[in-house]
């Protein structure tokens, strides 16, 4: 990989690899590629890996690293054996050895959304704001393909990119005290799905009957960073049937 990567510490137990300061799909491919490499083949002494839009954060145990690597040669310069320098050298080594131009397989996940009635309290506002009909908003939202850049804010909440600017709408001036889990919202040029009942200020244009956060499952979230998402419109009746199936 030839791109310019910056590294910096996040306290004395985590290091961040920042792939670029601009968010784009190319940068994100690098983020995905690197974090998957670490997941599939973890570096000794590391604890967990967290990808975000442009960075990969690696949490590690300084004690473990020093114990594992201080005595060995391991290509690590003896004069720079702080745990940060050890992890930095290991990560740089890993990145250098990573294959160029790997194409990552992205899962494509289709998400049913009911854009009707009480499920879509802000649909009309979004339509009005963008001088469109509600049908046009629904069509626009459900024909796009979105990329899940990361999960955050709440367990399983996907930050997605790729929404059309034609339906972009600012956040509500007064956030709601309670937004139901499954609510599909718009905030600026982002779209997202609430994974838990929580307060929130996004413009809610629909709801999915799918459960985004299932703590008892081995994979506790429906979506993962790197997934591609397509929404499709369903009726209230279809919503009810699918909701039953989830139980």
């Amino acid at each position: 990989m030839t791109i310019n990567i910056q590294f910096y510490p996040l306290g004395e137990q985590a290091i961040v690899a920042k792939f670029d300061s601009e968010l784009n799909e190319n940068t994100y491919e690098q983020v995905c590629n690197f974090s998957r490499s670490l997941e599939q083949n973890p570096i000794i002494g590391t604890i967990e890996t967290v990808p975000t839009f442009t960075t990969v954060t690696i949490y590690y145990d300084p004690f473990e690293l020093v114990r594992a690597y201080q005595s060995k040669d391991n290509n690590i310069n003896k004069s720079t054996q702080s745990s940060y320098n050890i992890i930095l050298a290991l990560i740089q080594d890993r990145i250098a050895k990573m294959k160029k131009n790997i194409t990552i397989e992205h899962r494509t996940i289709k998400i049913p959304v009911c854009y009707e009635g009480d499920f879509a309290p802000d649909l009309e506002y979004v339509a009005m704001y963008n001088q469109l009909s509600t049908e046009e908003v629904i069509q626009n939202h459900s024909e796009g393909e979105y990329l899940v850049y990361m999960l955050g804010f709440a367990p399983g909440f996907p930050y997605m990119g790729g929404m059309s600017s034609k339906i972009a709408t600012p956040r509500r001036s007064e956030p709601r005290v309670l937004v139901s889990a499954g609510s599909v919202g718009i905030a600026g040029e982002q779209t997202g799905i609430y994974s838990l009942d929580s307060p929130g200020g996004w413009q809610i244009i629909g709801r999915t009957p799918l459960t985004l956060f299932q703590p008892e499952n081995e994979s506790p979230t429906l979506l993962r960073a790197g997934d591609r998402i397509q929404f499709y419109s369903i009726s209230i009746d279809e919503y009810t049937v699918l909701e039953e199936k989830q139980k």
């Binding site: 996040l10 967290v50 745990s83 990361m150 955050g152 399983g156 506790p220």
Partner: protein, 339 residues
């Protein structure tokens, strides 16, 4: 073994050292606020450091012990009493069946940890016993403890029942409802919990983007803990911290001890239940060794920041881990000798 909650206290939850490996799913790490106290509490009763403990804040619970038990209380001093008599902290205690542990007032700190030999038993969620209140998962039914809850404790295998039994036999003529063991953690090994503390911090990633006067304020003025503070973050009252220019950040990773500054200029120290990522500039990062001191501050308490380098913070951390390791060896030697 079972503990019965007679009164829940202000906020009593089951916690361990946190949920590891799920931050990439947006799941908070959670866990105890003061990991030093919780780890020592576990070691003193022969548990693994990461066994589940009870974290109590400010006003402690009342707990009835239905069988003879070996416990330890570490952390902030919430005035533990049994039958009106003070229970010493930072040491193993044998408590007799039918006794009731209560707490009266906060003497120091904010949170105390109760460990029981064997460790508290609750179903694990994503590999952890930690309660995460916002998602209502983990711990005891995903919530703070309530009156009438019955908390199970695993059978202790490290110490083995025989050792506890021999102690009980030794003291069987005693009418006392609890018996402190004759050894304890030296006060030189204890964190200096105070209501005014000096906290060591490293420069955060966006440190240079703040106004010079703001950086001077951060490193020289006193900040107090705002009442709007919880296990997720402490909000600080004091000088308002300003950026040089407006900044539109993309969310990046944050961790325990990250100090973020939202647009209102009042810094927040992120703690156990922090979100996994954040979009506010990170002015500083608390050195891990000083996190227990912060965890024990309560609203109105104050702190000052002192800058250290990453190398210094690393050194302090490794030193502390070595000390805990030595303590662990000494405690297991005590139990092996059986005195």
């Amino acid at each position: 073994m079972t503990l019965k909650i007679l009164k829940p206290g202000m906020l009593t939850t089951i916690q361990d050292l946190g949920r590891v490996g799920y931050q990439k799913y947006g799941v908070v790490a959670g866990g105890v606020m003061d990991s030093y106290a919780a780890r020592i509490a576990n070691l003193l009763v022969g548990n693994e450091e990461d066994a589940a403990v009870m974290e109590m804040s400010m006003i402690g619970p009342s707990i009835e012990f239905q069988e003879d038990s070996l416990i330890s209380i570490c952390g902030g001093d919430l005035s533990a009493i049994i039958d009106g008599e003070r229970v010493p902290m930072w040491r193993p205690i044998i408590i007799k069946a039918g006794s009731c542990l209560q707490f009266s007032n906060v003497k120091s700190g904010c949170r105390a940890y109760l460990s029981a030999a064997g460790g508290i038993s609750v179903p694990e969620v994503m590999g952890s016993s930690s309660t995460y209140l916002r998602a209502a998962i983990g711990g005891y039914e995903g919530r703070a403890l309530k009156q009438g809850d019955l908390i199970s404790v695993h059978q202790s295998d490290y110490i083995g029942n025989t050792k506890i039994q021999s102690f009980l036999q030794l003291y069987s003529t005693s009418l006392k409802s609890f018996i402190p063991l004759p050894w304890f953690v030296s006060e030189y090994s204890l964190p200096a919990y105070q209501s005014q503390v000096m906290i060591r911090v490293m420069k955060g990633r966006e440190f240079e983007l703040f106004q010079d006067e703001s950086i001077t304020s951060l490193l020289s003025e006193t900040f107090t803990i705002h009442p709007q503070s919880d296990r997720m973050a402490y909000r600080l009252n004091g000088a308002q911290i300003q950026l040089k220019t407006n900044l539109n950040m993309i969310s990046e990773a944050v961790t325990m001890g990250t100090i973020q500054v939202p647009p209102d200029g009042f810094p927040r120290i992120l703690l156990a239940d922090r979100q996994t990522t954040g979009g506010y500039p990170r002015i500083a990062q608390v050195a891990s060794v000083d996190l227990p001191l912060i965890a024990q501050l309560k609203p109105g308490d104050s702190l000052m920041f002192q800058e250290v380098t990453l190398e210094e913070a690393e050194f302090l951390y490794l030193q502390q881990e070595k000390d805990i390791h030595i303590l662990k060896l000494m405690i297991s030697e005590r139990w092996r000798r059986g005195d």
